[in-house]
């Protein structure tokens, strides 16, 4: 995916100014930056929730696809169908639905029952539910959330919700997974779990991952590349090691402690 000179403003606030960024197939890219730097806005632009005023986001679904698809004028659901899934900073699950239903919704684009077949149930809809249920159960196994399958997600603790949200995104079988602070609010143990999930998703399922995260330990350890935003502009971009010692990054973001 190639992002070029993307600019996004809200009234007077410039959330993004001419940000260009490349997301390479199969990598884990971390996006870091101070609070309010525009990281979430960047993800929102990719998934079609924000309409940037300028710039382009080109997505290349297949390796040999030179042309690519322009995302900036597309609806979020179209973008999802292209294979781009995400999680949210503040957990945006369907609170009154069970974990299972949340994950099954992730399968939405892969299913085809309509009102009629759904209402009639016997036949297509039932077969389909069973089929996709199997896929979802696999994800449930993978994320180790078997015991809470049938709980409404609204009553789960924060950490579990984060996991369910990851599961929902996975259920979409995306090519690119956008994660907005997936480990916020977790203790080290849980972060380790999460890190392992992300690595597995990346390595075993071959999913490209874009990750916003403030825990530098995590960022340094699992990402292949890091991009840094500050005040809506990209100030650096490179391997974790390069970024760690980048003076602008230290000044704007890390502080001395992490240097």
């Amino acid at each position: 995916m190639a992002i070029q000179a993307l600019s996004l403003r809200f009234g007077g606030v410039a959330a993004l100014t001419r940000v260009s960024l490349e997301i390479r197939r199969g990598e884990i890219l971390a996006v870091i930056g101070p609070n309010g730097a525009g990281k979430t806005s960047l993800l929102n632009s990719i998934s079609g929730l924000y309409r940037p005023q300028e710039g382009s986001i080109r997505f290349f679904p297949a390796p040999d696809d030179e042309e690519g698809v322009e995302l900036t004028r597309r609806r979020p659901d179209e973008i999802a169908r292209l294979g781009i899934a995400r999680t949210f900073q503040n957990i945006e699950l369907f609170r009154h639905m069970t974990v299972l239903d949340n994950l099954l919704l992730g399968r939405h684009i892969h299913m085809r029952a309509n009102v009629l077949t759904g209402g009639i149930w016997w036949g297509l809809a039932q077969r389909e539910e069973i089929e996709h249920r199997a896929v979802v159960e696999e994800i449930i196994d993978f994320l180790e959330i078997e015991p809470i399958r049938r709980q409404p997600v609204g009553t789960l603790s924060y950490g579990l919700q984060k996991r369910v949200e990851l599961g929902r995104a996975l259920a979409l079988e995306p090519q690119i997974l956008l994660l907005d602070e997936p480990m916020a609010g977790m203790n080290v143990e849980e972060k380790e779990d999460m890190a392992r999930f992300i690595l597995d998703i990346n390595e075993e399922r071959g999913v490209t991952v874009v990750l916003i995260e403030h825990d530098m330990g995590v960022v340094m350890d699992i990402s292949d590349r890091v991009a840094v935003l500050d005040f809506g502009s990209k100030i650096a971009d490179g391997s974790p090691q390069e970024i760690r010692s980048h003076p602008d990054v230290i000044r704007a973001y890390l502080g001395q402690e992490h240097a």
Binding site: T40, N44, L49, F88, Q89, N90, E92
Partner: protein, 290 residues
């Protein structure tokens, strides 16, 4: 041209009556997110209570009106105590439903006490005709304009500047978080309902002055819904301007087209306006950040 002026003036002034009725709606919504389906019944109670003090008990009207306003405050507090308090933190839609129940209770009370037959209202609000640009209007409508402007100013300042006003908006945003600020939801609800009942009493008085005290005052509760939405559910200036715009639309369609189309033209215009401005003319956007 004469016709146009007459229609415009009468639409404007009638709109002010709508505005007064709409204000209570907005106040309750603004402080608790609740659509009050009993707003019309609050108007009704207000009108009858004033009627009681001024016409039946024979008090001088300033005293009667003050007493009626006091009753409104008591009513607001009573509603909070009996109905809203147990529902704090429950789904808003349940609270909305409860206002439907409340409407029945209030209507029953009023007919039980005052009977079903409408009566004329003591004429302490002047009803003489006044000429404006050659158009005739009744003085009570001018009162409606004055009062709605006054309340507009009063409540706008209240919500912007006073701590209680800010607390009310906070409660509407997030009850639990507001509780954690030490804001007493009960107090805020009682306050909101009292204020709404007070405006309803004022609106009810004016309305009774125009159409008499009777059950159909309550009908205005839902009729002002378009005005409220057009202005923006949570906007006080919106309620006033929405009321006026709807009043004008009704007057023009009534005068030029007729056919009872004035019942639906406001809705059509309103829907079109909303397609351009989904939160009404002045309503605040629902914030959806992810």
């Amino acid at each position: 041209m004469d016709l146009f002026i007459q229609l415009t003036v009468s639409g404007l002034t009638n709109g002010a009556v709508y505005a007064l009725a709409a204000l209570g709606f907005v106040l309750i919504y603004k402080s608790s997110d609740v659509i009050n389906f009993a707003q019309g019944e609050l108007l009704l109670v207000g009108a009858y209570v004033t009627f009681f003090f001024v016409a039946q008990a024979g008090l001088a009207w300033p005293v009667g009106v003050l007493l009626a306003l006091a009753v409104a405050v008591v009513l607001g507090v009573a509603v909070e105590r009996t109905v809203l308090r147990p529902l704090i933190g429950e789904p808003i839609i349940s609270v909305i439903m409860v206002t439907i129940g409340l409407a029945s209770v209030l209507r029953a009370l009023v007919t039980a006490i005052w009977g079903p037959v409408p009566r004329s209202f003591p004429a302490f609000i002047p009803r003489d005709e006044v000429l404006i640009l050659g158009a005739v209007v009744s003085a009570d409508r001018l009162w409606a304009i004055a009062l709605s402007i006054l309340m507009l100013a009063l409540f706008s300042l209240f919500f912007r500047l006073s701590n209680e006003g800010i607390a009310m908006r906070a409660v509407a945003d997030d009850q639990q978080a507001a509780m954690s600020m030490g804001i007493s939801i009960r107090r805020i609800f009682a306050l909101a309902w009292s204020i709404a009942a007070v405006t309803a009493t004022i609106g009810g008085m004016l309305l009774a002055n125009i159409i008499g005290v009777g059950g159909n005052i309550a009908g205005l509760g839902l009729r002002v819904f378009p005005a409220v939405i057009l202005g923006g559910l949570d906007s006080i200036p919106g309620a006033v301007i929405g009321g006026v715009v709807i009043g004008l639309l009704e007057a023009w369609t009534g005068g030029y087209i007729g056919q009872g189309l004035n019942q639906i033209v406001p809705f059509i215009v309103l829907t079109l306006v909303l397609m351009v401005r989904p939160y009404g003319l002045f309503g605040q956007e629902i914030i959806e950040r992810v």
